[in-house]
Point group: C2
Amino acid sequence: MKGMYFIDKGLVKVHKKWGLDKELILRIARNGDIVGHRGLGGDLIYPVSGTALEPTDVCFVDLEFFNSTLKVNQELLFALMMFFAAELKESEKRMRNLAHMPVKGRIANALLFLKNKFGVTSDAAINLLLSRQDLASYTGTTYETLFRIMNELAEENAISMTGKSIVILSEDILLGHTKDN
Amino acid sequence: MKGMYFIDKGLVKVHKKWGLDKELILRIARNGDIVGHRGLGGDLIYPVSGTALEPTDVCFVDLEFFNSTLKVNQELLFALMMFFAAELKESEKRMRNLAHMPVKGRIANALLFLKNKFGVTSDAAINLLLSRQDLASYTGTTYETLFRIMNELAEENAISMTGKSIVILSEDILLGHTKDN
DNA sequence: CGCGCAGTTGATCTTCGTCAAAATGTGTGG
DNA sequence: CCACACATTTTGACGAAGATCAACTGCGCG
Protein backbone atom coordinates (compact mmCIF):
# COMPACT_ATOMS: atom_id res chain seq x y z
CA MET A 1 0.00 0.00 0.00
CA LYS A 2 1.36 3.34 -0.99
CA GLY A 3 1.27 6.31 1.25
CA MET A 4 3.25 8.14 3.82
CA TYR A 5 3.47 8.81 7.51
CA PHE A 6 2.80 11.92 9.45
CA ILE A 7 4.56 12.04 12.76
CA ASP A 8 2.11 12.90 15.44
CA LYS A 9 4.41 12.73 18.41
CA GLY A 10 7.99 11.64 18.83
CA LEU A 11 11.23 11.50 16.95
CA VAL A 12 12.22 9.44 13.98
CA LYS A 13 15.56 9.09 12.30
CA VAL A 14 15.44 8.57 8.58
CA HIS A 15 18.44 6.66 7.43
CA LYS A 16 19.79 4.75 4.51
CA LYS A 17 22.19 1.88 4.62
CA TRP A 18 25.30 1.53 2.56
CA GLY A 19 26.97 -1.81 2.36
CA LEU A 20 26.81 -3.90 5.45
CA ASP A 21 27.85 -1.60 8.21
CA LYS A 22 27.56 1.92 6.95
CA GLU A 23 24.63 4.20 7.07
CA LEU A 24 23.86 7.86 6.79
CA ILE A 25 21.13 9.55 8.72
CA LEU A 26 19.41 11.66 6.12
CA ARG A 27 17.38 13.65 8.55
CA ILE A 28 15.68 13.60 11.86
CA ALA A 29 11.98 14.11 11.79
CA ARG A 30 9.75 15.15 14.64
CA ASN A 31 6.11 15.85 15.10
CA GLY A 32 4.56 17.63 12.19
CA ASP A 33 7.07 16.21 9.77
CA ILE A 34 6.47 13.70 7.07
CA VAL A 35 8.25 10.43 6.52
CA GLY A 36 8.00 8.20 3.51
CA HIS A 37 6.94 10.91 1.13
CA ARG A 38 9.23 9.52 -1.51
CA GLY A 39 6.36 7.46 -2.73
CA LEU A 40 5.14 10.75 -4.14
CA GLY A 41 7.68 10.96 -6.89
CA GLY A 42 6.05 8.08 -8.66
CA ASP A 43 9.16 6.86 -10.40
CA LEU A 44 11.66 4.42 -9.00
CA ILE A 45 11.30 3.83 -5.33
CA TYR A 46 14.23 4.79 -3.23
CA PRO A 47 13.97 2.84 -0.06
CA VAL A 48 14.98 4.45 3.20
CA SER A 49 14.43 3.26 6.71
CA GLY A 50 12.85 5.07 9.59
CA THR A 51 13.58 4.26 13.19
CA ALA A 52 11.81 5.76 16.15
CA LEU A 53 14.20 7.21 18.68
CA GLU A 54 11.56 7.46 21.35
CA PRO A 55 7.99 6.27 21.74
CA THR A 56 6.42 7.74 18.69
CA ASP A 57 2.96 8.03 17.24
CA VAL A 58 2.66 8.12 13.54
CA CYS A 59 -0.30 8.34 11.27
CA PHE A 60 -0.35 6.51 7.99
CA VAL A 61 -1.94 8.35 5.14
CA ASP A 62 -2.97 6.53 2.03
CA LEU A 63 -1.62 8.09 -1.12
CA GLU A 64 -5.01 8.26 -2.79
CA PHE A 65 -6.53 9.96 0.16
CA PHE A 66 -3.60 12.26 0.48
CA ASN A 67 -3.78 13.36 -3.11
CA SER A 68 -7.49 13.99 -2.98
CA THR A 69 -7.08 15.97 0.20
CA LEU A 70 -4.44 18.11 -1.40
CA LYS A 71 -6.81 19.00 -4.17
CA VAL A 72 -9.20 20.65 -1.80
CA ASN A 73 -6.82 21.83 0.86
CA GLN A 74 -4.76 24.65 -0.48
CA GLU A 75 -3.22 25.36 2.91
CA LEU A 76 -1.88 21.87 3.28
CA LEU A 77 -0.46 21.84 -0.20
CA PHE A 78 1.31 25.11 0.41
CA ALA A 79 2.69 23.97 3.74
CA LEU A 80 3.92 20.81 2.11
CA MET A 81 5.65 22.73 -0.61
CA MET A 82 7.39 24.87 1.98
CA PHE A 83 8.36 21.83 3.95
CA PHE A 84 10.06 20.24 0.98
CA ALA A 85 11.75 23.49 0.04
CA ALA A 86 13.19 23.82 3.53
CA GLU A 87 14.31 20.21 3.62
CA LEU A 88 15.97 20.63 0.26
CA LYS A 89 17.86 23.66 1.44
CA GLU A 90 19.05 21.78 4.48
CA SER A 91 20.00 18.78 2.41
CA GLU A 92 22.05 20.85 0.03
CA LYS A 93 23.91 22.42 2.91
CA ARG A 94 24.82 19.06 4.28
CA MET A 95 25.78 17.85 0.84
CA ARG A 96 28.35 20.56 0.56
CA ASN A 97 29.61 19.89 4.04
CA LEU A 98 30.09 16.24 3.25
CA ALA A 99 31.93 17.13 0.10
CA HIS A 100 34.41 19.63 1.45
CA MET A 101 34.24 20.14 5.18
CA PRO A 102 36.54 18.05 7.36
CA VAL A 103 35.00 15.75 9.93
CA LYS A 104 35.60 18.11 12.80
CA GLY A 105 33.65 20.82 11.09
CA ARG A 106 30.82 18.48 10.25
CA ILE A 107 30.56 17.35 13.83
CA ALA A 108 30.65 20.90 15.15
CA ASN A 109 27.97 21.75 12.66
CA ALA A 110 25.85 18.81 13.63
CA LEU A 111 26.06 19.63 17.32
CA LEU A 112 24.99 23.20 16.72
CA PHE A 113 22.20 22.13 14.42
CA LEU A 114 20.87 19.49 16.75
CA LYS A 115 21.10 21.77 19.72
CA ASN A 116 19.26 24.42 17.81
CA LYS A 117 16.54 22.17 16.53
CA PHE A 118 16.10 19.65 19.28
CA GLY A 119 17.64 21.19 22.37
CA VAL A 120 14.62 21.37 24.61
CA THR A 121 16.25 22.53 27.81
CA SER A 122 17.26 26.10 28.36
CA ASP A 123 20.85 25.30 29.15
CA ALA A 124 23.30 24.21 26.51
CA ALA A 125 22.83 20.52 27.12
CA ILE A 126 21.85 18.59 24.08
CA ASN A 127 19.71 15.91 25.54
CA LEU A 128 19.85 13.99 22.38
CA LEU A 129 18.24 10.69 21.96
CA LEU A 130 20.91 10.03 19.41
CA SER A 131 23.54 7.54 20.40
CA ARG A 132 27.15 8.12 19.55
CA GLN A 133 26.70 5.68 16.75
CA ASP A 134 23.84 7.78 15.45
CA LEU A 135 25.89 10.93 15.69
CA ALA A 136 28.58 9.27 13.63
CA SER A 137 26.02 8.19 11.07
CA TYR A 138 24.59 11.65 10.96
CA THR A 139 27.93 13.25 10.24
CA GLY A 140 28.98 10.53 7.85
CA THR A 141 31.91 9.22 9.81
CA THR A 142 32.76 6.28 12.01
CA TYR A 143 32.26 5.57 15.63
CA GLU A 144 35.96 5.73 16.45
CA THR A 145 36.64 8.93 14.58
CA LEU A 146 33.70 10.57 16.27
CA PHE A 147 35.21 9.81 19.67
CA ARG A 148 38.54 11.28 18.86
CA ILE A 149 37.02 14.44 17.51
CA MET A 150 34.66 14.78 20.44
CA ASN A 151 37.62 14.44 22.75
CA GLU A 152 39.45 17.14 20.86
CA LEU A 153 36.43 19.38 21.15
CA ALA A 154 36.26 18.67 24.86
CA GLU A 155 39.93 19.55 25.27
CA GLU A 156 39.30 22.81 23.49
CA ASN A 157 36.52 23.46 26.00
CA ALA A 158 34.01 23.66 23.23
CA ILE A 159 31.90 20.93 24.74
CA SER A 160 31.85 18.80 27.84
CA MET A 161 30.77 15.22 28.13
CA THR A 162 29.67 13.35 31.17
CA GLY A 163 28.37 9.94 30.38
CA LYS A 164 25.84 10.17 27.60
CA SER A 165 25.12 13.83 27.85
CA ILE A 166 26.81 16.47 25.79
CA VAL A 167 26.93 20.10 26.81
CA ILE A 168 27.98 22.86 24.50
CA LEU A 169 30.31 25.21 26.33
CA SER A 170 31.19 27.52 23.50
CA GLU A 171 29.19 27.92 20.35
CA ASP A 172 31.89 30.22 19.09
CA ILE A 173 34.58 27.58 19.15
CA LEU A 174 32.27 25.19 17.36
CA LEU A 175 31.40 27.83 14.82
CA GLY A 176 35.08 28.37 14.25
CA HIS A 177 35.39 24.85 12.97
CA THR A 178 32.60 25.34 10.50
CA LYS A 179 34.22 28.30 8.81
CA ASP A 180 35.71 27.89 5.42
CA ASN A 181 39.00 29.34 4.17
CA MET B 1 14.36 42.44 -4.70
CA LYS B 2 13.21 39.04 -3.65
CA GLY B 3 12.09 36.45 -6.07
CA MET B 4 13.30 33.57 -8.13
CA TYR B 5 14.10 32.56 -11.65
CA PHE B 6 12.35 30.23 -13.97
CA ILE B 7 14.55 28.82 -16.64
CA ASP B 8 12.90 29.25 -19.96
CA LYS B 9 15.60 27.80 -22.13
CA GLY B 10 19.12 26.62 -21.44
CA LEU B 11 21.15 25.06 -18.73
CA VAL B 12 22.30 26.44 -15.43
CA LYS B 13 24.61 24.98 -12.86
CA VAL B 14 23.78 25.82 -9.30
CA HIS B 15 26.88 25.77 -7.19
CA LYS B 16 28.19 26.83 -3.86
CA LYS B 17 31.73 27.81 -3.05
CA TRP B 18 33.76 26.50 -0.17
CA GLY B 19 36.89 28.32 0.80
CA LEU B 20 38.83 29.83 -2.03
CA ASP B 21 39.10 27.11 -4.58
CA LYS B 22 36.52 24.51 -3.78
CA GLU B 23 32.97 24.31 -4.91
CA LEU B 24 30.20 21.80 -5.17
CA ILE B 25 27.67 21.77 -7.93
CA LEU B 26 24.41 21.26 -6.11
CA ARG B 27 22.38 20.58 -9.17
CA ILE B 28 22.01 21.28 -12.81
CA ALA B 29 18.84 22.98 -13.80
CA ARG B 30 17.31 23.15 -17.25
CA ASN B 31 14.22 24.61 -18.77
CA GLY B 32 11.21 24.31 -16.58
CA ASP B 33 13.28 24.26 -13.44
CA ILE B 34 13.51 26.90 -10.82
CA VAL B 35 16.59 28.61 -9.51
CA GLY B 36 16.85 30.85 -6.52
CA HIS B 37 13.83 29.48 -4.77
CA ARG B 38 15.65 29.57 -1.49
CA GLY B 39 14.24 33.00 -0.92
CA LEU B 40 11.03 31.10 -0.21
CA GLY B 41 12.15 29.74 3.09
CA GLY B 42 12.00 33.15 4.61
CA ASP B 43 14.62 32.49 7.25
CA LEU B 44 18.34 32.94 6.83
CA ILE B 45 19.43 33.30 3.28
CA TYR B 46 21.72 30.63 1.98
CA PRO B 47 23.51 32.13 -0.96
CA VAL B 48 24.30 29.95 -3.91
CA SER B 49 25.52 30.91 -7.33
CA GLY B 50 24.07 30.08 -10.68
CA THR B 51 26.08 29.98 -13.86
CA ALA B 52 24.68 29.49 -17.31
CA LEU B 53 26.39 26.69 -19.21
CA GLU B 54 24.94 27.74 -22.50
CA PRO B 55 22.99 30.73 -23.77
CA THR B 56 20.08 30.69 -21.41
CA ASP B 57 16.85 32.57 -21.04
CA VAL B 58 15.54 33.02 -17.57
CA CYS B 59 12.51 34.75 -16.27
CA PHE B 60 12.60 36.58 -12.98
CA VAL B 61 9.51 36.26 -10.86
CA ASP B 62 8.89 38.60 -8.03
CA LEU B 63 8.17 36.85 -4.77
CA GLU B 64 4.98 38.80 -4.15
CA PHE B 65 3.67 38.00 -7.56
CA PHE B 66 4.71 34.42 -7.24
CA ASN B 67 2.93 33.96 -3.97
CA SER B 68 -0.25 35.53 -5.18
CA THR B 69 -0.15 33.38 -8.29
CA LEU B 70 0.22 30.28 -6.21
CA LYS B 71 -2.90 31.17 -4.31
CA VAL B 72 -5.02 30.96 -7.41
CA ASN B 73 -3.10 28.39 -9.38
CA GLN B 74 -3.50 25.03 -7.77
CA GLU B 75 -1.76 23.26 -10.63
CA LEU B 76 1.37 25.32 -10.29
CA LEU B 77 1.50 24.85 -6.56
CA PHE B 78 1.18 21.12 -6.93
CA ALA B 79 3.84 20.97 -9.62
CA LEU B 80 6.14 22.99 -7.43
CA MET B 81 5.59 20.68 -4.52
CA MET B 82 6.46 17.70 -6.69
CA PHE B 83 9.50 19.45 -8.04
CA PHE B 84 10.86 20.05 -4.57
CA ALA B 85 10.06 16.52 -3.51
CA ALA B 86 11.96 15.12 -6.48
CA GLU B 87 14.92 17.42 -5.92
CA LEU B 88 15.00 16.43 -2.28
CA LYS B 89 15.08 12.77 -3.14
CA GLU B 90 17.92 13.33 -5.54
CA SER B 91 19.79 15.46 -3.05
CA GLU B 92 19.52 12.82 -0.36
CA LYS B 93 20.88 10.21 -2.73
CA ARG B 94 23.88 12.31 -3.49
CA MET B 95 24.33 13.06 0.18
CA ARG B 96 24.71 9.42 0.93
CA ASN B 97 27.05 8.93 -1.99
CA LEU B 98 29.26 11.73 -0.78
CA ALA B 99 29.29 10.24 2.68
CA HIS B 100 30.17 6.67 1.86
CA MET B 101 30.79 6.00 -1.79
CA PRO B 102 34.38 6.21 -3.06
CA VAL B 103 35.22 8.72 -5.75
CA LYS B 104 35.12 6.19 -8.53
CA GLY B 105 31.60 5.23 -7.67
CA ARG B 106 30.50 8.82 -7.46
CA ILE B 107 31.93 9.56 -10.87
CA ALA B 108 30.35 6.48 -12.40
CA ASN B 109 27.10 7.54 -10.83
CA ALA B 110 27.39 11.06 -12.10
CA LEU B 111 28.11 9.92 -15.64
CA LEU B 112 25.08 7.68 -15.66
CA PHE B 113 22.90 10.34 -14.15
CA LEU B 114 24.01 13.04 -16.53
CA LYS B 115 23.70 10.77 -19.51
CA ASN B 116 20.24 9.84 -18.41
CA LYS B 117 19.08 13.34 -17.75
CA PHE B 118 20.93 15.40 -20.30
CA GLY B 119 22.12 13.01 -22.98
CA VAL B 120 20.26 14.35 -25.96
CA THR B 121 21.72 12.17 -28.65
CA SER B 122 20.63 8.61 -29.18
CA ASP B 123 24.09 7.16 -28.90
CA ALA B 124 25.88 6.89 -25.60
CA ALA B 125 27.78 10.13 -26.00
CA ILE B 126 27.28 12.55 -23.22
CA ASN B 127 27.56 15.83 -24.98
CA LEU B 128 27.90 17.60 -21.75
CA LEU B 129 28.41 21.25 -21.50
CA LEU B 130 30.15 20.49 -18.27
CA SER B 131 33.87 20.95 -18.28
CA ARG B 132 36.12 18.51 -16.50
CA GLN B 133 36.38 21.01 -13.74
CA ASP B 134 32.60 21.04 -13.46
CA LEU B 135 32.47 17.28 -13.38
CA ALA B 136 34.92 17.31 -10.53
CA SER B 137 32.87 19.88 -8.70
CA TYR B 138 29.75 17.88 -9.29
CA THR B 139 31.22 14.74 -7.80
CA GLY B 140 32.93 16.60 -5.00
CA THR B 141 36.48 15.80 -5.94
CA THR B 142 39.41 17.53 -7.59
CA TYR B 143 40.41 18.09 -11.14
CA GLU B 144 43.42 15.77 -10.91
CA THR B 145 41.64 12.93 -9.20
CA LEU B 146 38.88 13.09 -11.77
CA PHE B 147 41.43 12.54 -14.53
CA ARG B 148 42.95 9.53 -12.98
CA ILE B 149 39.60 7.94 -12.36
CA MET B 150 38.39 8.73 -15.84
CA ASN B 151 41.51 7.10 -17.22
CA GLU B 152 40.87 4.05 -15.12
CA LEU B 153 37.33 3.90 -16.41
CA ALA B 154 38.62 4.23 -19.95
CA GLU B 155 41.10 1.40 -19.40
CA GLU B 156 38.26 -0.74 -18.15
CA ASN B 157 36.42 0.06 -21.36
CA ALA B 158 33.60 1.59 -19.42
CA ILE B 159 33.93 4.87 -21.23
CA SER B 160 35.96 6.36 -24.02
CA MET B 161 37.22 9.87 -24.31
CA THR B 162 38.28 11.77 -27.35
CA GLY B 163 38.98 15.36 -26.68
CA LYS B 164 36.14 16.86 -24.71
CA SER B 165 33.56 14.25 -25.48
CA ILE B 166 32.79 11.32 -23.28
CA VAL B 167 31.12 8.17 -24.52
CA ILE B 168 29.71 5.54 -22.26
CA LEU B 169 30.71 2.12 -23.56
CA SER B 170 29.29 0.00 -20.80
CA GLU B 171 26.65 1.09 -18.38
CA ASP B 172 27.08 -2.21 -16.60
CA ILE B 173 30.68 -1.57 -15.67
CA LEU B 174 29.77 1.86 -14.43
CA LEU B 175 26.88 0.43 -12.47
CA GLY B 176 29.27 -2.05 -10.95
CA HIS B 177 31.16 0.77 -9.31
CA THR B 178 28.03 2.19 -7.77
CA LYS B 179 27.10 -0.97 -5.97
CA ASP B 180 27.37 -1.11 -2.25
CA ASN B 181 28.47 -4.04 -0.10
C1' DC C 1 34.13 -14.39 39.57
C1' DG C 2 33.89 -14.64 34.65
C1' DC C 3 31.44 -13.30 30.69
C1' DG C 4 29.83 -9.87 27.37
C1' DC C 5 29.38 -5.50 25.62
C1' DA C 6 29.71 -0.44 24.94
C1' DG C 7 33.34 2.77 25.29
C1' DT C 8 38.29 3.96 24.37
C1' DT C 9 42.78 4.08 22.67
C1' DG C 10 46.60 2.70 19.70
C1' DA C 11 48.75 1.33 15.29
C1' DT C 12 48.55 0.81 10.55
C1' DC C 13 46.79 1.27 5.85
C1' DT C 14 44.23 3.32 2.05
C1' DT C 15 42.40 6.85 -0.38
C1' DC C 16 42.57 10.97 -2.05
C1' DG C 17 44.08 15.82 -1.94
C1' DT C 18 48.02 18.71 -2.68
C1' DC C 19 51.81 20.48 -4.89
C1' DA C 20 54.86 20.64 -8.61
C1' DA C 21 56.70 19.42 -12.89
C1' DA C 22 56.18 17.89 -17.55
C1' DA C 23 53.54 17.54 -21.71
C1' DT C 24 50.42 19.23 -24.70
C1' DG C 25 47.59 22.51 -26.71
C1' DT C 26 46.34 27.38 -28.18
C1' DG C 27 46.80 31.83 -29.54
C1' DT C 28 49.55 35.84 -31.21
C1' DG C 29 52.75 38.58 -33.45
C1' DG C 30 56.48 38.68 -36.54
C1' DC D 1 54.67 29.38 -41.34
C1' DC D 2 57.22 29.61 -37.39
C1' DA D 3 58.60 30.95 -32.67
C1' DC D 4 57.33 32.27 -28.45
C1' DA D 5 54.34 32.97 -24.45
C1' DC D 6 50.76 31.29 -21.98
C1' DA D 7 46.95 28.26 -20.60
C1' DT D 8 45.26 23.80 -20.07
C1' DT D 9 45.87 18.95 -19.44
C1' DT D 10 48.40 15.09 -17.72
C1' DT D 11 51.56 12.61 -14.86
C1' DG D 12 54.40 11.93 -10.62
C1' DA D 13 55.60 12.09 -5.77
C1' DC D 14 54.27 13.04 -1.31
C1' DG D 15 51.51 13.80 2.78
C1' DA D 16 47.40 14.16 5.60
C1' DA D 17 42.87 12.84 7.02
C1' DG D 18 40.36 9.48 8.32
C1' DA D 19 38.91 4.36 7.96
C1' DT D 20 40.06 -0.03 9.54
C1' DC D 21 41.55 -3.44 12.59
C1' DA D 22 42.79 -4.91 16.97
C1' DA D 23 43.64 -4.58 21.66
C1' DC D 24 42.39 -2.89 26.11
C1' DT D 25 39.42 -0.73 29.56
C1' DG D 26 35.77 -0.32 32.50
C1' DC D 27 31.21 -1.88 34.02
C1' DG D 28 26.91 -4.32 34.55
C1' DC D 29 24.98 -8.72 35.38
C1' DG D 30 24.18 -13.46 35.83
